[in-house]
Amino acid sequence: MDNLLVAENIYKSFGNYTALNNVSINVPRASIFGLLGPNGAGKTTLLRIINQITMPDRGTIYLDNKPLQPNDIQYIGYLPEERGLYKSMRVGEQALYLAQLKGLSKAEAKQRLEYWFEKLEISGWWNKKIQELSKGMAQKVQFVITVLHKPKLLIFDEPFSGFDPVNARLIKREILQLKEEGATILFSTHRMESVEELCDYMALIHKSNKLLDGRVSDIKKEYKSNTFEVGMEAKNEPALLAELQQKFIVGNATFKSIHTDLKLRIQLQENESANHLLEFLINRAQINHFVEVIPSVNDIFIQTVTRDA
């Protein structure tokens, strides 16, 4: 597979504390990769290593199949979790400065900034000081600074945690558009719903170890337990229930339905398929609802983390 970024067997410890223990991830080109884990799992440390802010004790990072070089920072855009700007500097001046640090020439930086400021409708803010801006405005400026040098790899550390809902939606839209344009996006979060919504791939880090990784849909397939939610009407409900309980593992289910019927959660054996259950039910009841239970990322997260504990 064509990976833009590969982290291979990364170890990092701070004194006696191990922050990353043999962690490897592969981030495919032009995809959105979610790095999941509870607070303190080591996500930020991994992102800092990829940004060459901290050096790993062992292990190698490859960008475009080559070991990461100091100059590679110009191909990476990083929006850290703890982010801010110089309060007493003017917006335009500050953006120019940070863009030049990323290797852009002054003229080019200015041209691109004008494009982005127009796009996000913040052109009027060029000469304002950051301390005069609202937090949401400052966040927009930070986002522009992150993407300005058209990096191949965009790294967002907890991108939605600091943003207000309006800006969070805007950032989501921009992230998806950047992916369309060919950028690869790696972001860390402990909010599972954003992974569900955006990510093609994910990795789960817990207590400095990587517990699982891969394509989100593959992981979900792996974690589904051959369970179905069924809603139906039968003439003799107790008899049907008894019969079902004999053949399958049956539990109660709660879902919304316009019918006042029997709502069950039925888990099949591994060698049985959905058709098997349908065949059994079709002669005994009127089926109104039949859905395979697909685990949410949240379920997978909790299941993995608790299993590990």
């Binding site: 800092r48 802010i53 990083y78 929006l79 703890e82 801010g84 309060k87 930070q142």
Partner: protein, 430 residues
């Protein structure tokens, strides 16, 4: 290198555009000049104030000895009764009354001074001297000694000071060297403290603003630290130059507006020096020009930079280790201590003996050498001592900057933690 330049430029502009910087740059010379003018004005007031002292002399032999001066005027009340004289002095609010009683055998009794407040030390001394001189002369005459003969026989001794190469110097020489060295050392200390603090505050600002991680994803932390130290030092030099220029202009303006006064005092000084003998004046001027002024200036800049880089990188590390300025206290004392030590050693040991063991040792120790060596340079320091001192300073600088950058690198990414010395030590090993 390109990034380092960008950082230096930003740091410089951030310092120079700061409102307090601008205000302080233009206000402090004004404050300084204002202070000098105030002190001058007050001392002028003080000296123009004339004290009137009453004299009640029962013996009648001293009235010609108490001569009126610029600051004091004597009024003879001996014709009145003592009580009347006392009342008069009190009613007129004179400074005091000197009472010289006469014993029955014609001797002078216990001299007394009456006043609202105890008289100044100078007044008492001059009164005592006047009376004692007259009495001594009277005693000498009584014993049949010719005073004019004695005065004629008095021999004045004036030691001429030369160094081994035969160069003559005035007695003021050491004093002048002391002043030049002292000013240079003190200035250096102030600069280190003020600009070191500026570096520290700027590091803390970047931490609390949370911009630090955005920047270090583009540049190496050590570049940021060096850029900050260099940019701030340029701001310091700018301020210093402005002060020098402003100082010169203000001095010119004040001497122009107070033209007559300045001239007259200069005249008085000239007269004083002429009294000190013509040769002393020329020697005095020669002393100033004989000072190694050029080398003093060159070494001032070198030690200035050496000391400033040493301390400001420590300040940068402290800034990185804390979250707010209030947390810096525990680290500040060990930084200020060697600076204070340098100043004390300079003002006590160097002045006493510029080439003694204490002065020499402290002008080698890198934490105190910039201050102590600067104070020693006007007295002449052998080149090999300068070489050792500067080499030690350079090596220490490299070591301290390296250690400070390690603490800095870890510290800037630590939020919400109050670092202890133990932790700082651990960070060195990350």
């Amino acid at each position: 290198m390109r990034n380092l330049k960008l950082i230096i430029r930003r740091e410089y502009l951030a310092r120079v555009r700061n409102k307090t910087f601008i205000i302080m740059t233009f206000l402090s010379p004004l404050i300084l000049v204002g202070m000098f003018m105030l002190v001058g004005y007050l001392s002028m007031l003080n000296s123009s104030e004339q004290q009137i002292i009453g004299l009640y002399d029962e013996t009648g032999i001293f009235s010609s000895d108490f001569k009126d001066g610029r600051q004091v005027q004597y009024l003879d009340f001996s014709s009145l009764s003592f009580e009347e004289a006392l009342v008069k002095v009190r009613e007129q609010e004179y400074y005091g009354l000197i009472y010289i009683p006469e014993k029955e055998n014609g001797d002078v009794g216990q001299v007394q001074f009456f006043g609202l407040e105890p008289p100044g030390l100078g007044t008492v001394q001059s009164v005592e001297k006047t009376i004692s001189d007259r009495l001594t002369k009277r005693e000498l005459m009584k014993r049949g000694i010719d005073i004019s003969e004695m005065e004629a026989a008095e021999v004045k001794v004036d030691v001429e000071i030369q160094n081994f190469s035969g160069q003559r110097t005035s007695k003021m020489s050491n004093y002048i060297k002391m002043i030049f060295g002292g000013i240079a050392g003190y200035l250096l200390m102030m600069f280190i403290i003020i600009y070191g603090n500026m570096v520290m505050r700027s590091v803390i600002e970047e931490k609390t603003n949370r911009i630090i991680e955005i920047i270090v994803s583009s540049v190496k932390p050590i570049h940021l630290m060096l850029g900050k130290v260099l940019g701030t030092s340029l701001a310091g030099l700018t301020q210093f130059s402005i002060w020098v220029i402003l100082g010169a202009v203000l001095l010119w303006i004040t001497s122009f507006t107070l033209g007559i006064d300045v001239l007259s005092t200069q005249k008085e000084q000239m007269e004083m020096m002429e009294q000190m003998a013509q040769s002393d004046l020329s020697l005095f001027l020669a002393d100033v020009y004989n000072l190694p002024l050029l080398s003093l200036f060159v070494f001032f800049v070198i030690y200035f930079l050496g000391g400033y880089f040493l301390y400001s990188s420590i300040y940068a590390a402290i800034g990185a280790a804390v979250d707010s300025e209030t947390d810096t206290q525990q680290f500040m004392f060990p930084v200020i201590l060697p600076l204070m030590l340098g100043i004390y050693v300079g003002f006590f040991a160097v002045i006493e003996n510029p080439h003694g063991t204490i002065s020499t040792v402290f002008s080698m120790i890198p934490l105190t050498s910039p201050i102590v060596m600067l104070m020693r340079i006007p007295f002449g320091v052998p080149w090999y001592e300068l070489l050792i001192s500067l080499s030690l300073l350079l090596i220490t600088n490299l070591g301290v900057i390296w250690l400070a950058s390690k603490i800095y690198r870890v510290g800037i990414l630590m939020y919400g933690k109050k670092a202890t010395y133990k932790e700082l030590f651990k960070w060195l090993k990350y």
